[in-house]
Amino acid sequence: MFEIKNLKASLEDEDKQILKGMNLSIGEGEVHAIMGPNGSGKSTMSYVASGKSGYVVDAGSVELDGVDLLEMEPDERAAAGLFLAFQYPVEIPGVGNMTFLRTAVNSQRKARGEEELNAAQFLKLVREKAKALKIDADMLKRPVNVGFSGGEKKRNEILQMAMLEPKMCILDETDSGLDVDAMKLVSEGVNALRDGKRSFLVITHYQRLLDHIKPDVVHIMADGKIIKSGGPELALEVENNGYADLLNEVA
């Protein structure tokens, strides 16, 4: 379903490799989590997979349903079914949230040869999804993420995910900056999208999020690659003991 093979990537401006041969395979409907110390390359992996500029892929591949994503523009990757929930959602003054969402939804539908939603259909859909995430009409009218609290920004990410219905969702530290209630709300939003077919990759520092979004597999990432994979108990181990033992194990 989602396959990362021997992925090596560097920063464009510096001669510094961040990803050093990463391998990851996520099957249909599975939820995987990635944990790892700061600077291990977790966010870089999510940016390289979704096509952010500023990175050079030195080797390897990223495939979604057998289709190579690395040659595609970010919007084409999105239309192919990839979604990245940002750690820091970008504020875009002057662009209305609603306009943005509708353009995004219809651009993807168009790219896939599906019929675009008209204004009424779109409005009905967005209201329904927003309600579940406790996003009020006012938030939809405002410019994208401008003046949103940390929690509102993350809820807005999940709303976009719900509207775009991707096949593969990468959640980059979606729990950062969230209080307990907001984390629960966001997690419920994510769980509502688990339908047995859609796959998730949850990047997090804390086991707490994984109490809400239960992973099938937990990976530990360090220095640009996965160093250990296991069941949910691996996250508990990290929570209790930190990374030191795991890093020593592979050293």
């Binding site: 999105a78 990245l84 940002f86 875009i92 003054p93 995004a104 994208v144």
Partner: protein, 428 residues
């Protein structure tokens, strides 16, 4: 000044147009005085402080080059708006293509008719606001306009005018060199809107003098056509009374050379002035906004909001000044000018100036120049929005602060749709 070379350049300017026929004494003397101003100040030159960024050579030249006439592929700007339409073809009023010139609380006559009658208020405005606006900065093209213009309208509003007066400047000739002068008086408590649309000429020189009485309101919205090779130099001179409002917005897409000058003298307390514009150019494009706002009364507010989108070597110029006189306490002045460069070979040249002699004022100004924000682009694209569309959304967002200066929402939306149209045509 006074060098023989510049004097002959001034003669060339005046010689380009036929002298207007003799009219009433007051009109003739105003024109004569303007003629004298042109001769004494000479033509604009690159050494002039306010012509450093914009080369006036083609505006000064004796003849105009051929300028192809653009076939419009969209409905005319302001098409859907109820208005009193006044059409000029190559700078000449065309009654056949205009509405009946009447309206409640509205006195309107051609410049020619007005110059031949004894309109008391007009003699107080025609050539007078322009002359006042010549210090401390000289504006020879405005004086030229007063001296030579035969075409234009003289308008007086005595109440709230429901329909805007809409000037439409059509072109049929490839080489027309046109001068148009409007004179406007908004009486106490009256409210008038003026729309202008069209390139008008191969080389267009317009001047509008606006006298807004106490508690009067004047709105101006302009779209300068899409003809690529046209040249335009425009002036607005305004005098504002107590608690009056003046708002002017200009949309400029394309145009080889456009110089828009707005000179406002805030004379009455509690008055508000706003001058704004959005301009978009791709390639052979130079757009210059030169603004001078003088605060000479207390508790007044002025805003200058200018946004320019520039691509493939296009140049944007902004020269904006706020002058706060010693007695103009509690002045609230705001000025922002921003250039969005869609690629690296475009230029945005800005010269914000604040000259403040009062001690209790709040003036803020800012000027920025940069490319489309890459993080925002990635965010939009990661949601499936294609690059060109994402860029167009960013352009629209960038321009919106200027468009928000337009009070009428329907007109603002009309302008927005033109911007989107331009962005889509130029997104390759």
């Amino acid at each position: 000044m006074g060098e023989p070379k510049q004097e002959s350049a001034a003669e060339t300017l005046l010689g380009r147009h036929a002298s207007p026929p003799a009219a009433s004494n007051w009109a003739d003397s105003a024109r004569q005085a303007a003629r004298g101003r042109v001769l004494s100040m000479g033509a604009a030159g690159r050494r002039d402080e306010y012509w450093r960024y914009t080369n006036p050579t083609e505006l000064n030249a004796e003849n105009t080059a051929d300028v192809g006439i653009l076939e419009l592929d969209e409905s005319p700007v302001f098409d859907g708006v109820e208005k009193l339409l006044i059409t000029f073809v190559d700078g000449v009023f065309s009654p056949e293509q205009s509405d009946d010139l009447s309206g409640e609380s509205l006195e309107i006559s051609t410049l020619e008719d007005a110059m031949n009658s004894d309109i008391h208020w007009a003699s107080d405005v025609f050539g007078q606001l322009e002359a006042n606006g010549q210090t401390p900065v000289q504006r020879p093209f405005a004086a030229l306009n007063t001296a030579m213009a035969e075409q234009g309208f003289v308008i007086r509003a005595t109440g709230k005018i429901s329909k805007p007066v809409a000037f439409r400047y059509l072109r049929e000739s490839a080489q027309s060199d046109v001068v148009i002068h409007h004179v406007v008086r908004v009486e106490s408590g009256a409210d008038l809107s003026i729309l202008e649309n069209g390139a008008g000429a191969a080389r267009l020189n317009t001047c509008i003098e606006v006298d807004v009485a106490d508690r009067g309101a004047f709105h101006h919205l302009r779209a300068q056509g899409r003809d690529h090779a046209r040249l335009a130099v425009t002036h607005m001179f305004a005098r504002l009374g107590e608690e009056s409002t003046f708002k002017s917005f200009t949309l400029t897409v394309n145009g080889k050379l456009t110089r828009n000058e707005v000179v406002i003298d805030i004379n009455g307390n509690n008055a508000k002035a706003s001058v704004s514009g959005a301009s978009l150019g791709d390639g052979d494009f130079l757009h210059d906004d030169t603004i001078f706002i003088t605060h000479d009364a207390v508790d007044c507010e002025s805003r200058q909001v200018f946004k320019k989108v520039l691509k493939n070597g296009a140049t944007g110029v902004f020269q904006g000044k706020i002058l706060v006189q010693p007695d103009a306490q509690k002045t609230d002045g705001y000025q922002i000018s921003q250039g969005l460069l869609l690629n690296e070979d475009s230029n945005f040249l800005a010269k914000p100036e604040l000259e403040i002699y009062a001690d209790d004022v709040a003036c803020s100004h800012g000027s920025t120049c940069g490319a489309v924000d890459e993080n925002s682009m990635f965010y939009l694209m990661s949601r499936g929005v294609p690059r060109s569309e994402a860029q167009n959304m960013m352009i629209a967002a960038f321009l919106d602060e200027a468009i928000q200066e337009i009070e009428d929402e329907a007109l603002a939306d009309d302008i927005r749709s033109r911007l989107v149209g331009w962005a889509q045509r130029h997104s390759a």
